[in-house]
């Protein structure tokens, strides 16, 4: 027997869990302390926001909310590596990426607070909104990438899917299309080990999720998803090659969902405390803070001051959300079609009349 093909999956890490550099070839952006500090500050902002959003849900001021606790490095790296006119297709907890791209925290709250206006992003006009059906966003991003390729625009589409979502046909279809058509598409699997209660081990027998890209003909890489430097380096590489016509890439960001799946879930029912405790040792904030502190560009004093600032900004956003009036009843009808068909005109009038009778 001869060998038809051989493959390897590389793993990328710069900062280990203790905040120590494990490679000497730091990428350009990471040699700029200022830039790293800015990224760390964004991660901290995301965590402050996330904590507040969970608290809002617990006090009945927000609907079901999907926390991003533990995903801050992966998400901020994705958002910060993209250009403004690139297109992002999230699943439903990528706030770190979205804030970098200009989505307002109040918009996140509005969406989870039951108001479609949360999807009318004030920032990235072409970004896809949150996508609840699992993995469908991958194909939408591939479609966006195909549009860029046909129009010869130097733009890149990026989607995020979970470890569970990487079992779906849509995920495979998207990377397969990217391979077949050399699309400017970057698919990121944020592997947080849990799809609600189902662990990574029973999603697939594959050793890595990154290797799923091999069969699709895209470049593959596994990354420490808790290491901002590695994640950002991987994203920079993937986006650059996509933008220059070298095709798609699949990145598996290995991280851990430190929160419940959503506020409607209780993860204590299905996963051991010891596992969660161990995951906290590897979480993304601490190692970067340790590293930045060792570089003398960050300190406890900075941390406290910035956290206080974040609290203030988040409070402003929360207040804006809480003060947003519910849409009038006709909003149910007004965006279903570009122009309201006569059938719906009658139903709209009915709903309005009912509303007026109720006063």
């Amino acid at each position: 027997m001869s060998i038809a093909a051989t493959f390897e999956i590389e793993y990328l890490q710069y900062l280990d869990a203790d905040g120590k550099l494990v490679r000497s070839d730091l990428p350009e952006f990471a040699r700029d302390a200022k830039q790293l500090v800015e990224l760390y500050k964004t991660m901290l902002f995301v965590r402050v926001f996330d904590t507040k959003a969970v608290a809002l849900q617990r006090t009945g001021k927000l609907g079901t909310y999907a926390s991003c606790l533990g995903h801050e490095a992966a998400h901020v790296a994705i958002g910060s590596a993209m250009r403004e006119d690139d297109v992002f297709a999230p699943m439903y907890r990528e706030y770190g990426a979205q804030f970098v791209r200009g989505v307002k925290p109040r918009e996140v709250l509005m969406y989870w607070g039951g108001d479609e206006r949360g999807n009318d992003f004030s920032g990235p006009a072409h970004d896809f909104p949150w996508c609840v059906p699992i993995a469908t966003q991958c194909l939408h991003a591939a479609g966006a990438a195909l549009a860029f390729k046909i129009r010869k625009e130097p733009r890149v589409a990026v989607s995020v899917v979970g470890d569970g979502g990487s079992s779906k046909a849509d995920f495979y279809g998207a990377i397969n299309m990217a391979g077949a058509q050399t699309l400017p598409y970057v698919s990121v699997i944020v592997n947080n080990q849990w799809a609600i209660s189902v662990p990574r081990t029973i999603q697939t027998g594959a050793k890595t999720l990154a290797q799923k890209g091999i069969a699709a003909g895209v470049e593959c890489l596994q990354v420490d998803g808790n290491d901002l430097i590695a994640m950002r380096a991987a994203m920079d590489h993937a986006i650059k090659r996509a933008r220059h016509g070298h095709g798609g890439m699949l990145i598996e960001a290995v991280t851990y969902r430190l929160s419940d799946h959503t506020t409607a879930d209780d993860a204590r029912r299905y996963r051991p405390d010891a596992e969660v405790k161990a995951a906290w040792e590897r979480e993304p904030m601490k190692r970067l803070r340790t590293y930045l502190t060792a570089q003398n560009v960050w300190s406890d004093k900075h941390e406290e001051a910035w956290k206080a600032e974040c609290e203030k900004i988040v409070d402003v956003e929360v207040n804006a959300y809480l003060e947003t009036k519910t849409q009038p009843v006709e909003a149910i009808f007004d965006y279903v079609y570009a122009e309201l068909p006569p059938d719906l005109t009658a139903q709209r009038a009915q709903a309005l009349a009912l509303e007026q009778r109720r006063g």
Binding site: V87, A89, E116, R117, N119, D120, F121, A125, H126, F128, P129, P133, T136, C138, L139, H140, A141, A142, G143, A144, A145, L146, A147, F148, K149, I150, R151, A157, A169, D170, G173, A174, N176, M177, A180, Q181, A331, Y335, V336, Y337, A338, P341, P342, D343, L344
Partner: protein
Amino acid sequence: MAQITLIEAITQALAHEMANDASVVVLGEDVGVNGGVFRATAGLSEKFGTQRVLDTPLDETTIAGVAVGMAVQGMRPVAEAQFDGFVYPMVDHIVCHAARFRTRTRGRLSCPLVLRVPWGGGIRAPEHHSEANEAIFTNVPGLRVVMPSSPSRAYGMLLAAIRDPDPVIFFEPKRIYRQYKEEVPDDGEALPLDVCFVLRDGTDVTLVTWGAQVKETLEAADALAKEGVSAEVIDVATLKPLDFDTIHESVKKTGRCVIVHEAPRTAGFGAEVAARLAEHAMYDLVAPVERVTGYDTHIPLFRLEMKYLPSVERIVAAAKRTLAAS
């Protein structure tokens, strides 16, 4: 001017709009060099290149999902589901996404795609190639569901569908793809969507139908005329949103209505037409509404399929029952 068939009218409309609008792209299985299994995209690949006439991997989910993504990003994709029975893997993207982007984002994004679906039975095809599954889509808000029944309507309605700012499911009655030819000038004139077409005026009974059944229904009207019965024939053409006014005006005149469709009866789109007649035309009716439909069974394999499809005989009999009732 050349006379063309319904399928050739589809090709003519695609070619016209691709020349007219650079954002129009065709994608699907075998739509490229092969020109489509029904020849709907014949010659387009040579004319517009393999990027705008794109042979996709053989995965309906991919075709639908990619078309959604392209449409949201400003393209006008015309995706082909090779056969009606292969549309089901696409439903997730059509229902959960294409139909919802506008409302979900409060109008920030929209999804102006067209999904072309060769539709219905009667061509002696294998299993899953003969489905009349339009009612799956007529219950979905945000979609347009259309079905032309002549070469000129196929041309004009496909142009309208591609230009429409919302997603359109474009069912093509494949049994009449090549039934007859018509002069269809390639003038780029779209026909209006959201309206029914009155194909034949009559005073005694209204026959309401769409798609391939227009053929049998017109033949039934001829047969009825020979017996002195004047039947009005309406091609619904756009099922959603429904132009009920045209149907209602006709029933005000005739007092009788027979609804003819190929799909199974229960919760078929005829049920919606009948329900609207019950709501709005009760006092115009002089006889119970009749439905002539496929049975509530699967369409059989082809040896029996013509016994499943509504026949001229069944339509005539139903019309006569409405006449006997009053």
